[in-house]
Symmetry: C2
DNA sequence: CTGTAACGCGAAAACGTTTACGTAATTAAA
DNA sequence: TTTAATTACGTAAACGTTTTCGCGTTACAG
């Protein structure tokens, strides 16, 4: 149906060679302005757009990047994608999205399928289900890759993260300032530096204030909302903590439900604080004190780094870019 | 660095022609099982994956679809993408994501950039900022396209939507059942069938119950959270409605804030109900009665339709697929 | 007036596939 | 035994670009 408006067609109509047309379209110095204008005008008139496959094949560039993340239906990641998309658009790049669903095999399969020149580079936030460090150690040698938020340390790649340790420390201190001494920890991302850093910040803050950490007060995330409600309820009944510090957003609903079911008033009986990018945090009952990560900026920053690499610009020596999270105090910590 | 493992390499190592290799890889009937196995084994051993650009160029198929939506950082759309991705993965397709930010020019620009063979088909939920019907009337002739949720009617294309009219009617009746007689309407998507259908459902339900609709009780969505808080507050003060029916999720936070600032108790002084896919609706203060669209299923269904078209399967005559939304009654309507 | 550089353009190869067509060898039918 | 059909594979063109190299023309310095 589309009567093939390609470079050859343009060349014929203008009575010049296809090489000249190609160079003109790419604004080559070899072509006179006069010829360029003739080509550009006709291209616009005929609505010519280059065939990406042909262009990719010849030039080995796709103008496409891939984003590999656990989920898109997650506030943090969807905001990150917004940031990535914004930068990609500025550079005229296309964005492929892959969800791993925290499945390490899917993660590998997707990423491998990108190594044959489908994309010029990859942005990824790795799966937390298992340690996949070895795989990535190899991968970074094969394709330009930037990690964001969920990273592996000590890899030769750019990593964009947040100040997990510091903000967790600060948040724990906030709970202590509010009078809490028995702060339970809802543990997520345990296989990843981010998860470990958050936990370390929590532990160190406790110790700095003379509070002995207790393994009994730590709950690990399980797959499935009900399971988490159950285990939190058990925690509440058995050990009566006076605060819940949740290291991932997924614990929020179970935590609120568990407290409600246990008949505990937030923040009077128990205080809650969580890492989260929920826009509705301030509307929860009661409004939730959160550690909010700059998801959008993380996406932007990671994308910018990738494009610097793709365009061979020297990266500012530093491979670790750390953005600041912010602690937003609301009713759930009650002070 | 990657020492070029392509079809030619395989052919050389096996001492057969590249045509035979290609056909073997594609499981052609022309090739003996014995040869196929030799090819497959070596391909696996050398970790061969076909070059997508070359394959696309020759075959005019990309195994890639595009999703063009207003935003990804939105519960409805990110869930839709999850559904789309799931189906795409089953079929071995890749998914490109484009956000229009409700900008009609970006929408056209992106979509046009997909017409040169970059993708095999498009899934889209159109921008609500203006009427872009003419553009899409042309577009559907040029590329396989499936609309979901935000559609234009009377176009020769498959459309996956929800029962907006019926559920809005039902929701309005629910408010009336709860004793409301002065139900304000927070109007979104006014340029689209979905927005019009929701409003019509609201109006018809009022009339059916002998309530005269009033233009004064209708508020149109403005860009920016504060602006909406302001106009809702003005509405509350001036006309004292006893319910707010919000046709889009974006009104929720402004509505709650406005009521709070106006000193109104939900649901005693005023009831609230909204179209929404917020997972935190049940945790809001008070929990929010919502009309929840099957976002995930919409994505799945739309993707399935697109693949049917791509694979030339006859579509089940019907071009309009309508999924059911569900009204979830919670505290904000108080009965 | 010659030699050299710069400029503007074209011819042709190359990227890695897919596929129409040809062909030789084997098998089945007559 | 001859012929037709089938099987299994190879040759080569094609997809639409980009890019290297070369060539003719003009301009200018010597």
């Amino acid at each position: 149906m589309a009567e093939a408006v390609n470079i050859k067609r343009l060349a014929q109509e203008l009575n010049i060679s296809i090489a000249t047309v190609s160079k003109a379209l790419n604004d080559s110095y070899e072509i006179s302005l006069k010829t360029k204008n003739r080509v550009w005008d006709l291209a616009r008139e005929l609505n010519y757009t280059p065939n990406p496959a042909a262009s990719n094949l010849r030039s080995n560039k796709t103008k496409t990047i891939a984003v590999v993340i656990p989920f898109v239906a997650n506030n943090f990641f969807s905001l990150s994608i917004m940031g990535i998309e914004e930068i990609a658009r500025q550079y005229g790049y296309h964005v492929l999205i892959y969800q791993t669903h925290e499945n390490i095999e899917a993660e590998k399969a997707f990423t491998n399928s990108l190594l044959n020149g489908r994309v010029d580079g990859i942005l990824t936030s790795v799966s937390s289900s298992e340690d996949n460090r070895e795989y990535y150690a190899n991968l970074v040698k094969k394709i330009p890759l930037v990690f964001f938020d969920r990273v592996y340390e000590d890899l030769d790649a750019v990593k964009v993260t947040t100040d997990d340790y510091e903000i967790a420390y600060q948040a724990t201190e906030h709970l202590i300032d509010c009078g809490c001494t028995k702060i339970a920890y809802l543990f997520g991302l345990e296989n990843l530096p981010a998860g470990k850093a958050r936990f370390a910040g929590y532990l160190d803050a406790l110790k700095a204030h003379g509070i002995a950490p207790s393994a009994e007060l730590v709950v690990n995330y399980l797959d499935g909302e009900v399971l988490n409600v159950e285990q939190i309820k058990k925690l509440l009944e058995k050990f009566q903590p006076d605060a819940l510090f949740s290291s991932i957003e997924e614990f929020i609903i179970p935590a609120y439900c568990a407290c409600r079911e246990a008949g505990l008033q937030i923040p009077d009986d128990i205080k809650i604080l969580s890492f989260s990018n929920l826009s509705t945090a301030k509307l929860l009952s009661p409004s939730l004190t959160t550690i909010s990560q700059p998801a959008f900026e993380i996406g932007r920053e990671a994308a910018k780094c990738l494009f610097k690499i793709l365009h061979k610009k020297q990266l500012d020596d530093e491979q670790n870019i750390i953005l600041k999270s912010v602690l937003i105090k609301r009713e759930s910590t009650g002070c």
